[in-house]
């Protein structure tokens, strides 16, 4: 992979998915409020399988990050 940015993106999205999965595992439901502050608040209840799917997608993405050769830091040094 040429761009270290892309590699970092894999790591970031993998960690994000894992964190979101753990968060969904802990909570029962979330209340979604609109940014504007006005309007209806919606309750979001994730399906039972959703946290595990997010965790597995995150794990696969992080594993992919690990298998991509070269570190992001060394690529930055070359520039």
């Amino acid at each position: 992979m040429k761009s270290p940015m892309m590699k970092s993106l894999f790591l970031a999205s993998g960690i994000f998915c894992c964190l979101l999965g753990v968060e969904m595992l802990v909570i029962d439901s979330a209340m979604l409020r609109p940014f504007s502050g006005t309007g209806e608040t919606r309750a979001f209840t994730a399906p039972e399988w959703a946290p595990w799917t997010l965790l597995s997608v995150g794990a696969v993405t992080i594993l992919h990050f690990c298998t991509v050769p070269g570190s992001a830091a060394s690529s930055f040094d070359e520039d």
């Binding site: 965790l55 597995s56 696969v60």
Partner: protein, 140 residues
Amino acid sequence: MIQTATRPDHDTVLYDGQCRFCRSQIALLRRLDVFGALRYTSLHDEKVARDFPELPQERLREEIVVVDRAGTARGGAEAVRYLSRRLPLLWPLALPLHVPGSLPIWRTFYALVARNRYRIAGRCDDGSCRLPQATPDRSR
């Protein structure tokens, strides 16, 4: 998934009690179920036909079925996936089982093992899986 009218108190695992392989897997499941979240019933138990008439006997013979507390019945690979979520000791297994798009692979693998289960460990027709009968009280 099949919706049953009966809503059991605990998640109920229905398995083939005449299959050595299934019995060994249930014994393993009992050890992994440290919080006692599951109940186990052999499909040959008359309670099964009475409590879950919606579940065809052919399907119960083909695959393990788990009926959750909401009355939803999952079979085969989906049941294993559900159990991996329910039992904390199986959480490491839940990750590969929940990879999006991987369910057909697990279904195929489950069907392969289920088809050959008697070949893998044999049947209980010889009575080897039967519980020992109570000996009559000779003190009287």
